[in-house]
C-alpha cells in the first residue's frame, strides 16, 4: 500500500509543477538520507558480525578479518584525534595521512589493474573464432585506429570509417538497448507500484 500510494504520488508529482507538489516531492526525498544513515549502522553491524565470527572461529584466512576490523574501528578514532597531536599544527593529522597515503593509493592500485584486465579481456574477445567474432575484431581495429594519430597516416578513410562505425551501427544498437531499458524500467516500476512484483520486499515474490 505504501509503495502504491508513494508511487502514484510520484507519478502525479512529475506532471504538477506547483509549489505544493514540489514540497511533497522534497518531503519524500528528504527521508532518503535519514534511512540511509540508519541502514549504515546495520551495515557496520554486518561487517563486524561476519568478521568477528571468522576471528572467533579461527576460520581459514581469519587474519584478513583482523585487517578489516581494526582499520574500520581505528579510522574514526584517528578522526577524533586533534590534528596537532600527530600531524602538527601545519600538516595534516593522522587521519588525513591514513586516508591520503594509505586508503587512496590502495584504491588507485585496484583501479589501475583495470588496464591489465582490459588487455586480457580484449585478447580473448578479439580471437577470430567465428564470423561474428571476426566482424567484432575488424570493427574494433577500425575504431581504435580512428582514435589515434597513426590512423591518419593510412589516409582519412580509416578514421572516417571508424567514426562511421561509432556514429551509425554502434549508436543505433546503443539506442535500441536504451529504449528497451526504458520500457523495462517502466514495466518494473509499474509492477512494483501495483504490487505485481513483491520479490524485492523479501522472498521469491509468491
Amino acid at each position: 500500500m505504501i509503495a502504491l500510494v508513494g508511487g502514484v504520488i510520484m507519478i502525479i508529482q512529475y506532471f504538477v509543477p506547483h509549489r505544493i507538489s514540489q514540497d511533497v516531492f522534497n518531503y519524500y526525498t528528504s527521508w532518503g538520507p535519514i534511512v540511509a544513515t540508519f541502514a549504515l549502522i546495520l551495515g557496520v553491524g554486518s561487517v563486524t558480525r561476519v568478521h568477528m565470527y571468522k576471528i572467533r572461529m579461527k576460520s581459514t584466512n581469519w587474519a584478513y578479518s583482523l585487517a578489516v576490523i581494526l582499520p574500520m574501528f581505528l579510522m574514526p578514532v584517528f578522526a577524533l584525534l586533534p590534528g596537532s597531536l600527530l600531524g602538527g599544527t601545519d600538516g595534516p593529522g593522522f587521519f588525513d595521512f591514513m586516508y591520503s597515503r594509505v586508503q587512496i593509493p590502495i584504491q588507485a592500485t585496484m583501479f589501475s589493474m583495470l588496464a591489465f584486465y582490459i588487455a586480457s579481456a580484449a585478447f580473448r574477445a578479439f580471437r577470430a573464432k567465428s564470423l561474428l567474432a571476426t566482424v567484432l575484431l575488424v570493427a574494433a581495429v577500425f575504431v581504435m585506429l580512428a582514435q589515434v594519430p597513426i590512423g591518419d597516416l593510412a589516409g582519412r578513410w580509416l578514421p572516417n570509417t571508424g567514426q562511421w562505425i561509432l556514429r551509425f551501427p554502434n549508436l543505433a544498437a546503443k539506442r535500441a538497448i536504451e529504449l528497451g531499458v526504458g520500457f523495462g524500467m517502466l514495466a518494473t516500476s509499474l509492477k512494483i507500484i501495483f504490487g505485481v512484483e513483491r520479490g524485492w520486499l523479501g522472498g521469491a515474490g509468491e
Partner: protein, 440 residues
C-alpha cells in the same frame, strides 16, 4: 498568467542627477512632487562641468514582466530593450522590490541580477538565485539600471502595475509524456488482464536466464558456493530492484539444493533488503534452518575496496557460479575477469551500456538491458509478470512503428528535396509531434 507592461525611459533631469550620484542607488519617490524635488536637488548637485564632460547614456527600457509558465510560481521573466548607447554600457542591473513592503522584507530596490557587457541576453529569468528567491503570490516591481563604462548608474523607470508569480497545476509541455505514459500503462494493463484470463503468451527464450538453473546445479554438484553480486548501485536504481527480485528466486532454488550462497553488498539499504529477500526465499523453500546468517553481508560503500573484497572472496573460496546482476561501473571488468580466471560459470546482466561489452567478453551469459528486467518474469512465469513483459514488447512495437515511419518520411524528404526546409520536411513534422527532448 502573462502580463506586459510598457515603460517609458526616465526623464533627462533624473539621468543627469543620477550621473552625479556615483554608485549609490537613489530611492525614487512615488509622488510627482517629491520626484521633482529629488530631481532638482540632485541636478543641482551635478555640476554643469561634469555633465558636459560625461557622454549622455540613454537608459534601458523594461518591456515586459511575465510569470514563467509551468513552474512552481517561483520565477518571473523580465524583458528589456538595451540602451541605444551600447558603446558606453558596462552592464545592465536588474533591480526588484515589493511595493508597500517594509525595507527588511524586500521593500527597497535590490539588485537581483546583472547582464554583463557582451551578453546579448535581454530576457532574464529571475528566481534562480537562492539569495533573491521569487515567492509565489508576492507582488514585485522591476527596474533596469544601466551601469556605464565610466562608473555611472543610469536609473531606469519603475514598473507599474506589478507582476505576481503563480504556480501551475499542470505542466503543459509534459502533455506528450502524459499521453505516452497513459498509452504504455494501458498496454501493460491490457496484457496483465489478457494473461490473467488464461491466454498463453509466448516469451522468446533467453539463454542467460535458461542457464541460471544449470549454473546453480553445477555449483551444487561441485559443492562450491554461489556468488551473487546485486550491483553497486543503491535501492533507488530500478536495476538494483530487478536484481533483488532475481536474487529471491535464485535463493529459493539455492535453498532447495542446499548450496552455499554469498551475497556481498555495497549499499547498506540494499544489504538489508537482500538479507530479507534471501531469508524469505529459504522460508518459502521450506528450509529456514539452512539459512546462513553470514551469507548476505555488507562489505563497504567504497567502490574499489568492494572490488578487492569480492575478488579476494573469488580467489579464496572459488565459487562455482558467479552472478553479476544490477548496476555496475568501472568495477565490472575487474570482477568478471577475476571470476573468469577462477574458472566459475558467470551470468551477468546490467542496463549500463558502457559495461555490457566487458560482461559479454568475460561472462558465459549476459542479460542485455531489458532482459535484466524481464528475468524475474521468466523465472517465475506468473501470468501478470509475463503480461508485463508482453506489454513492454507492445510498447516497443509502437516505437518501432514510429522509427519505420520516420525512416520512410526521411526518404520522402530526400526525394522531394524538402529535407533542408523544416517548414516542409515531413520528418520535422513527425518530430514536432512526438519529440519531448526539450524537457529536463
Amino acid at each position: 498568467m502573462r502580463m506586459t507592461v510598457n515603460l517609458l525611459p526616465a526623464g533627462l533631469a533624473l539621468l543627469l542627477a543620477t550621473a552625479a550620484g556615483a554608485q549609490a542607488i537613489p530611492e525614487p519617490s512615488a509622488t510627482p512632487d517629491s520626484l521633482l524635488l529629488l530631481s532638482d536637488s540632485l541636478a543641482a548637485a551635478a555640476s554643469a562641468q561634469v555633465a558636459e564632460a560625461l557622454p549622455e547614456v540613454r537608459p534601458a527600457v523594461l518591456t515586459s514582466i511575465a510569470d514563467v509558465p509551468n513552474d512552481a510560481g517561483d520565477h518571473l521573466s523580465v524583458s528589456f530593450e538595451p540602451s541605444p548607447d551600447s558603446a558606453s554600457v558596462l552592464a545592465y542591473l536588474i533591480l526588484r522590490r515589493t511595493p508597500g513592503a517594509p525595507d527588511s522584507l524586500g521593500g527597497q530596490w535590490t539588485i537581483v541580477k546583472h547582464v554583463p557587457l557582451g551578453d546579448p541576453t535581454t530576457d532574464v529569468i529571475d528566481g534562480y538565485d537562492p539569495d533573491f528567491l521569487v515567492e509565489s503570490g508576492v507582488s514585485y516591481e522591476y527596474r533596469i539600471d544601466v551601469l556605464t563604462t565610466d562608473g555611472r548608474q543610469i536609473e531606469g523607470a519603475s514598473v507599474s502595475p506589478v507582476a505576481v508569480a503563480s504556480g501551475e497545476w499542470f505542466h503543459t509541455e509534459k502533455l506528450k509524456v502524459l499521453v505516452g505514459c497513459v498509452l504504455f500503462i494501458s498496454l501493460i494493463f491490457f496484457y496483465f488482464k489478457r494473461a490473467l484470463s488464461g491466454h498463453q503468451l509466448y516469451l522468446r527464450p533467453i539463454p542467460g536466464i535458461d542457464a541460471i538453473d544449470e549454473a546453480i546445479g553445477r555449483a551444487t554438484e561441485m559443492g562450491k558456493p554461489i556468488l551473487y553480486v546485486p550491483g553497486l548501485s543503491s535501492i533507488e536504481d530500478v536495476a538494483t530492484i530487478a536484481s533483488l527480485t532475481i536474487l529471491g528466486r535464485v535463493a529459493k532454488k539455492v535453498a532447495q539444493y542446499q548450496t552455499p550462497l554469498r551475497v556481498p553488498n555495497r549499499d547498506p539499504i540494499v544489504f538489508t533488503v537482500a538479507e530479507e529477500a534471501v531469508k524469505q526465499a529459504y522460508l518459502e523453500a521450506g528450509r529456514p534452518d539452512s539459512y546462513e546468517a553470514n551469507s548476505v553481508f555488507f562489505v563497504t560503500d567504497s567502490q574499489f575496496a568492494y572490488v578487492a573484497a569480492v575478488n579476494g572472496l573469488m580467489i579464496r573460496e572459488k565459487p562455482a557460479t558467479n552472478f553479476y546482476l544490477g548496476m555496475f561501473w568501472a568495477e565490472s571488468l575487474l570482477l568478471a575477469e577475476t571470476g573468469s580466471l577462477s574458472g566459475a560459470i558467470q551470468i551477468a546482466g546490467t542496463d549500463a551500456i558502457t559495461q555490457l561489452p566487458f560482461f559479454i567478453t568475460t561472462c558465459d551469459y549476459t542479460l542485455i538491458g531489458e532482459e535484466l528486467y524481464a528475468a524475474s518474469a521468466y523465472l517465475g512465469r506468473e501470468p501478470k509478470q509475463v503480461g508485463a513483459v508482453k506489454g513492454q514488447d507492445a510498447c516497443k512495437g509502437i516505437v518501432m512503428t514510429f522509427v519505420t515511419i520516420g525512416i520512410l518520411l526521411c526518404i520522402i524528404d530526400l526525394v522531394t528535396g524538402s529535407y533542408a526546409d523544416p517548414s516542409k520536411s515531413l520528418l520535422a513534422k513527425l518530430q514536432g509531434l512526438i519529440d519531448v527532448t526539450s524537457l529536463e
